[in-house]
């Protein structure tokens, strides 16, 4: 579609024409969400396999009249889901507010007047005015005499400015950097490039971290185990003539083997991380994002908006034929007086501020020409500022100056040459004169984002490989990467070179090179995919729409707040205020979350293994089930539930083991669960024998009162689990056996407080009755306490002597399943 000459640039559409187009639906009124929808958040959190299984269990319990058991399951599971939903909705609302604040306005010409309107009110054929700094809000064609330079980096990834004149197409989502022009709206609403890109960006994306995958696997294994036991329970219903209540009880205890509370603990850890990160200007959109960051080993950056703040600063000057003071004065005047400021002139003005002088002529800078010129009203000479390789054609530079230029370029710096001519400047005929006299050189550097250097150094030290993938020239990107401290031996490759490689060579290149320049959005995504397929955990930081395909391929997508709306909407993490320096904090928070989850996982595994073994063991030596459902619940609540709520609060960051979850927990879980099972079984059997001996003279074994043995079992399990906490987080060297010294007393104090709470609870009738517990005699409590202490000493000796390592013939502290 070409410019409709029926409309004048100066008059634009009439009100009636606007109304007609709006009535015909040719307006820009489209609603596209700037974040995930409420429906999406709810469905992603609610409708999961694990939630479904637990919901079914709770329904069965409620149906069988065990309402409190059913409600307990619902609370544990859906409490976690609610926390997740709340956190994600909160993040969504925050993003929506950001989108609202960043919403651009548009200047249209209507009835011969310029008016500012909401972009939604633009109609087809509207004439819009665009100035430096304006966002282009609909697709269209430049009309009239105006010329502008457009930053299309958010669409293409290339930071080079694109000159646009009459007849050139401009696209929504880009920015006018310099100049002034009018354009006619040719595509509005859902037809615009920005809308199409954002709509395609909204594909569902949820990537689980390796920890989540392993935990999901574990949960599924335990669900399988539970299914197996449920089948046995069902058979026992027929073979042992059990009552329906007994069967439900057993089924419920078996259901308790599935670590529902673990999901809640993970959710709490993630939620806590999200809250902590907000103080660091990091907005978490996906609950697992913070933990995911601690999991990555490759961090991909987009140069334009990530490493650099998209502004440049004056680095140094090099006077040639005039003094330094004269050069500074001239640069200051030049840039204070120009009518077409750009980033370079702003950088000079920032360094050398002064008042503007009156101009007689000016030729604006364009990317194609690579120079600008002006002449002052009170000065007969003309001054030229531009690329040395262009201006240098018209003059001779001394070798020293050429070396200075080469050295600066090698360092990734941008050099401009200031020169003078005595010929009159002709605005309509931008030609370089032949009598140019070099005055001095000015060197600029891309302004790195605050703390970029420190952040990248931190990541490198943490063993994370940095890769810069950009639409810019590889040499420029490499220079900026060097500026950012990525080292001098980094290797660069360009998109066209990559395009010629076969898949295996591509994978190799993705692995070996650090700098990737002139990369298309598709190549960017392919690079990320290739890195992931080679077993890497990849995080991608981007800001532009061109980054979206690669962000969607990454394990973790990070976007800048200043990036496009579409990019923010697909990101797992949004760096508010473009706070790149917050990433190390996020990384540490991720480590903290991972460590907390690992600790929680160990406690859960001990409990699950212990209860499972007890079910089988008591099945072998007695006819009864070791615990009732509520008794199992109280063991979980006090021994695991409360600790797992507090552990994430106190967890510390620290280097994570490269091993997967189970091998990493084996050294702690194996000895403790086996020994605790044995000791608990002995205590249970001791009290069971007492119960048998206490049977009335004529009563049969079927009349055994199991409440006391079960209460004793609950007691020893709780004592054991609480004694494990100081071993998990040793406050002193006396507790160091399976884990390293932590020195934090809070865990041990919590453990002691929980023990007191348990004993207080048991002494309170309603608590005791709810959990179907019986009070034991003081001597029984003393006996169980002593058994617990003895077990702790045995366990410590087992860990310290590495009994299990020697017995199994493997080093449990370092073994891997791979």
């Amino acid at each position: 579609m070409s410019y409709d000459s029926n409309f004048s640039v100066n008059s634009g559409l009439t009100s009636q024409e606007v109304a007609e187009r709006r009535a015909a639906g040719q307006d820009n009124n489209t609603h596209l969400q700037s974040s995930r929808s409420y429906r999406q958040i709810l469905s992603e959190n609610l409708f999961t396999f694990v939630n479904g299984v637990f919901f079914l269990i709770s329904l069965v319990m409620i149906r069988l009249g065990r309402i409190s058991d059913g409600v307990l399951v619902v609370i544990v599971i859906f409490g976690g889901v609610l926390v997740n939903i709340y956190q994600e909705i909160w993040a969504k609302q925050k993003l929506d507010r950001i989108a609202l604040l960043n919403r651009p306005t548009a200047t249209v010409v209507r009835d011969g007047q310029e008016i500012n309107i909401d972009p939604n009110l633009i109609v087809l054929d509207d004439i819009l005015t665009v100035r430096a700094g304006d966002q282009i809000v609909v697709d269209g064609e430049i009309v009239g005499q105006g010329k502008i330079e457009v930053d299309e980096s958010l669409l293409t990834g290339e930071s080079d400015l694109i000159p646009k004149k009459a007849g050139d197409q401009i696209y929504s989502g880009t920015f006018c950097v310099s100049g002034l022009a009018h354009y006619q709206a040719q595509k509005v609403g859902i037809e615009t490039v920005a809308y199409r890109l954002m709509a395609s960006a909204r594909t569902f994306r949820r990537v689980l971290t390796s920890l989540q995958k392993e935990i999901n696997l574990l949960i599924r294994i335990f669900i399988l185990l539970a299914c197996f036991l449920w089948i046995l329970v069902a058979i026992s219903f027929l073979s042992l003539n059990l009552s329906l209540n007994d069967v439900v009880q057993k089924a419920a205890v078996v259901a308790g083997l599935v670590p529902a509370g673990l999901l809640l603990a993970i959710t709490l850890s993630y939620g806590l991380g999200a809250v902590r990160m907000l103080g660091q200007d990091v907005l978490i959109q996906q609950a697992n994002a913070v933990e995911s960051l601690s999991d990555i080993n490759i961090l991909c950056l987009d140069k334009t908006g990530t490493l650099t703040a998209n502004t440049i600063k004056l680095n140094s000057i090099y006077p040639l034929t005039i003094s330094q003071e004269q050069l500074i004065g001239l640069l200051a005047d030049y840039n204070a007086s120009t009518k077409t400021p750009n980033k370079t002139s702003e950088a000079i003005q920032m360094a050398y501020p002064t008042s503007p002088r009156q101009l007689s002529q000016e030729i604006a800078f364009t990317s194609a020409r690579k120079w600008s010129a002006l002449s002052f009203a009170d000065d007969s000479a003309s001054y030229y500022l531009g690329a040395p390789e262009i201006l240098g054609k018209s003059l001779n530079l001394e070798p020293k100056a050429i070396n200075w230029i080469n050295d600066s370029t090698q360092e990734g710096l941008r050099v401009l040459l200031m020169s003078r001519s005595n010929q009159t400047l002709l605005e309509n005929s931008p030609q370089l004169p032949l009598d140019l006299e070099p005055l001095g050189l000015v060197c600029f550097s891309d302004q790195l984002r605050p703390q970029v250097k420190e952040t990248l150094t931190g990541f490198t030290q943490a063993g994370i490989v940095i890769k810069v993938i950009s639409g810019d020239n590889p040499t420029t990107v490499a220079a900026i990467a060097k500026q950012a401290g990525l080292g001098s031996d980094i290797q660069a490759i360009s998109g066209p070179q990559l395009a010629e490689l076969e898949d295996s060579q591509f994978d190799q290149a993705a692995q070996n090179y650090t700098i990737f320049g002139r990369i298309t959005p598709e190549q960017k995504a392919k690079l990320v995919k290739s890195l992931r397929s080679n077993g890497n955990h990849v995080a991608m930081i981007g800001d532009g729409v061109n980054d979206i395909p690669s962000l969607k391929q990454a394990d973790l997508a990070i976007s800048m707040e200043s990036g496009s709306k579409a990019t923010r909407s697909v990101a797992d993490i949004v760096l508010l205020k473009d706070s790149f320096g917050s990433l190390p904090h996020t990384f540490l928070e991720g480590q903290r979350i991972r460590n907390a989850i690992l600790d929680v996982m160990k406690l859960f595994l001990v409990r699950i293994v212990c209860i499972t073994l007890l079910i089988f063991a008591t099945g072998l030596v007695t006819e009864g089930f070791p615990l009732q459902n509520k008794q199992s619940a109280v063991v979980t609540l006090i021994g695991i539930g409360f600790p797992t709520m507090l552990i994430p609060l106190w967890a510390k960051p620290g280097a994570r083991s490269n091993r997967s979850l189970i091998p990493a927990t084996l050294n702690f879980v194996l000895p403790s669960s086996i020994t605790l099972t044995l000791v608990s079984l002995l205590v249970y059997l001791t009290f069971l024998v007492v119960a048998i001996l206490d049977l009335p003279a004529t009563a049969s074994l079927a009349n055994i009162d199991h409440s006391i043995p079960r209460s004793a079992l609950v007691c020893i399990l709780i004592v054991g689990e609480l004694l494990l906490i100081p071993f998990l987080k040793p406050p002193t060297t006396a507790w160091v056996a399976g884990e390293t010294l932590d020195g934090d007393w809070r865990y041990s104090i919590m453990s002691a407080v929980l023990l007191v709470i348990y004993f207080l609870g048991v002494s309170i009738g309603p608590f005791r009755h709810f959990f179907e517990l019986s009070p034991l005699s003081p001597m029984s409590y003393l006996f169980i306490g002593l058994v617990g202490l003895e077990w702790a000493l045995i366990l410590r000796a087992i860990w310290r002597s590495r009994f299990f390592d020697k017995f199994l013939g493997v080093d449990l502290t370092t073994s891997s399943w791979h």
Binding site: V690, T698, T740, E790, L793, I794
Partner: protein, 198 residues
Amino acid sequence: MNNSSTRYSVTIWETIGISLGALGLSLAAASHLAMKYLNNNLDPIRAETIARSLIDYKIPGGSKGIYGINIGGGQIAIVSSLNNLPNTDNPEVKIIISKIPPTQAENLNPNSFSDSQFQAISQKTLNYEFCGKPTDLLIEQGQQTLSDGVHKSQAAQYTLKTTVGSYQREVIINTLGQDSQQKAEFILKNLKCIVTEY
């Protein structure tokens, strides 16, 4: 995770301490159970309750429980007369009553509770009905060395054994004195089997 074993080894004293602790706790638990077991078994009321749950009996002059055991589904009770043989510690009548599941027959043998000092001189077997089932009644007559280990008394021992349901029922009546046979006959006639299961 550190290699804790290199920094924190287990000393021999720690091993001894832990072992002694474990031994102490095991002994404490075992002795508590043993004491409870023995106290239960030697509780006269409990013993007589077990006996009367198996057999209804009458002993001239009254009865008292001596020993009762209810374990593994099997029950054995020993009751005796209140009266002792004059000038001795030996009760005139002692009845051993048992109800043993076949699986426990080897572990719980009521004959091991019968008086080993009894020496049969003559014995005969009669047909009898016990617990509603025809069975053999073993009648033995002879002498029994008294508890002082020196004197002897005339004694009679009647043994009844049958299987009711899945349990083996046995009654051993042991009587002392000149009228030991009459006492045994009296008790035998007044025995009433209590069957609660088949």
